[in-house]
């Protein structure tokens, strides 16, 4: 399982990387492996401001539909439109070209609640 140590994680199997007040979000290598071939990523919340843990989109594998939960409160300022044509990038490059959204963070104190790579690893190995 590939878990880059420089990223932050959530119990909902998302990763987060932060630059200034913007967070980039995707799903983890573990999550894409569990879902199998991803065929659709739907994000209809672009430009909306949502609270942490609200549903910002949906990821669909061949057999399953899963909600995507916002890891940090803020405005959704970008969606990776490349996933419209190539949702399989989430499988092949979950931490790179498979990124999903960017958030303008509204409450930086929430960053502390995110998990380290080690803490996330412990969660998924339990």
């Amino acid at each position: 399982m590939n878990l880059p140590s420089e990223l932050k994680y959530t119990k909902d199997h998302e990763w987060v990387t932060i630059e200034g007040d913007v967070a980039t979000v995707g799903i983890t290598d573990f999550a894409q492996g569990e879902l199998g071939d991803i065929v659709y990523v739907e994000v209809e919340t672009l430009d909306e401001t949502l609270d942490k843990d609200e549903v910002f989109g949906t990821v669909e594998a061949v057999k399953t539909v899963s909600d995507l939960f916002l890891p940090l409160s803020g405005e959704i300022i970008a969606f990776n439109e490349g996933l419209e044509e190539e949702p399989e990038k989430v499988n092949t490059d979950p931490y790179g070209e498979g990124w999903m959204i960017k958030i303008k963070i509204s409450d930086a104190s929430q960053i502390e609640e995110l998990l380290s790579a080690d803490a996330y690893k412990e969660l998924v190995s339990a």
Partner: protein, 361 residues
């Protein structure tokens, strides 16, 4: 949870295992899209040993089968298989199945794993009148589906019979992979041709291993249940529990072609009346006009957003690259070309009723 005789092999291959109809079954190995494509273009092997098998024998075997099934089993001959269903007493379907005539006065019924007990009890109830010999051999038999356009060529070296001579829905009892008396049936649930192989549990590991040896130059791969579902749905084949169930009539489901009034059978009078009256709703095939994926139990709505029906099966078609599905709609929406909408979360996505199969090869 039951295992098939091949569970350890699936686990060693790294399959993702899921519970299905009380069995621990492989849902995928490498990934559903690659497995799907393997069956469409090459050859793949499914372990579907969870399926149920009943052996019906004796002088009244045919009479019992004629009573409980909707298709006309008198058309069978030794070496011929027939798709059929078990109508219930209230207009619905107990199960769909394949009936094989093995020899004089002996038939094999192959039923869905999830319905083994229900089917057995249903048929037993009617057997009081016929007293045929019924044996549930499900636990002792394994079933491999070897499917795809290269199946004939890839498997020919494993048997002394000419596989290319077995016509669709025919079968031979012959040697296969070093085992005598294997049922080699030109049937399947994929629309890509190939065989279904019935053998005893203690024989199936040898068969599996020899099948993979013989297929190695043809790129043979193991295929899981997820691809089985996308393959069958691209053909529009009904899945019991999704598209047909205890409340759907064979006519609504488009199974009029296996409902023959050339004989008396369970609920045949009421079904004949239903046919006469005409249908109120029909199972239709549809493709989404925009991006999105229909799923089992999503609502079908009209242009005003009123619910008009329900999706019974849906997926992203690996071959077509778009959302496809089956669902029940009122007859006025059932013509090919009709415009309907599928409610996917907050959006009503436009869809068009199409002719089956989705995948035309």
């Amino acid at each position: 949870m039951k295992n098939t005789a091949l569970t350890a092999i699936h686990e060693a291959l790294g399959a993702k295992m899921v519970p299905f109809a009380g069995y621990n079954m492989p849902v995928s190995y490498e990934g559903v899209n690659i497995e799907h494509e393997t069956v469409r273009k090459g050859v793949g092997v499914f372990d579907v040993s969870h399926m149920g098998e009943f052996l019906i024998s004796g002088p009244n075997a045919l009479a019992l089968i004629q009573k409980v099934t909707s298709n006309d089993a008198s058309k069978l001959y030794i070496g011929k298989a027939q798709y059929s269903c078990l109508p219930n007493e209230t207009g619905g379907i107990v199960d769909d199945l394949i009936v094989y005539q093995i020899k004089e006065e002996q038939y094999l019924l192959v039923v869905n794993a999830s319905n083994i007990d229900k089917d057995w009890n249903h048929i037993t109830k009617y057997n009081k009148e016929f007293n045929a010999d019924m044996r549930n051999i499900s636990e002792g038999y394994s079933l491999l589906a070897i499917q795809g356009p290269k199946a004939v060529e890839a498997m020919q070296s494993l048997t002394s019979i000419d596989l290319s001579q077995i016509k669709f829905y025919n079968f031979k009892v012959a040697d296969f992979a070093g085992i005598e008396h294997v049922i080699i049936s030109a049937t399947g649930y994929t629309g890509s041709g190939g065989f279904e192989i019935y053998c005893k549990n203690e024989e199936v590991k040898q068969v599996w291993n020899k099948v993979f040896e013989a297929g190695v130059n043809f790129g043979i791969k193991p295929i899981g249940l997820a691809a089985r579902d996308t393959l069958r749905l691209e053909m529009g084949y009904c899945l019991y529990g999704n598209d047909i169930n205890d409340t759907t009539s064979p006519f609504e489901a488009g199974l009029g072609w296996i409902t023959k009034f050339t004989k008396d059978f369970v609920n045949s009078e009421a079904l004949a009346q239903e046919k006469e009256r005409g249908l109120e709703r029909k199972l239709v095939a549809f493709e989404l006009d925009d991006r999105g994926i229909p799923r089992h139990d999503y609502d079908i709505v009209d242009g005003q957003g009123n619910k008009i029906g329900i999706v019974t099966s849906g997926t992203m078609s690996p071959s077509l690259g778009k959302g496809i599905g089956l669902g029940y709609v009122p007859k006025i929406f059932s013509e090919v070309g009709s415009k309907i909408n599928i409610q996917v979360r907050k959006k009503a996505i436009p869809a068009t009723v199409v002719k089956l199969p989705f995948y035309k090869g």
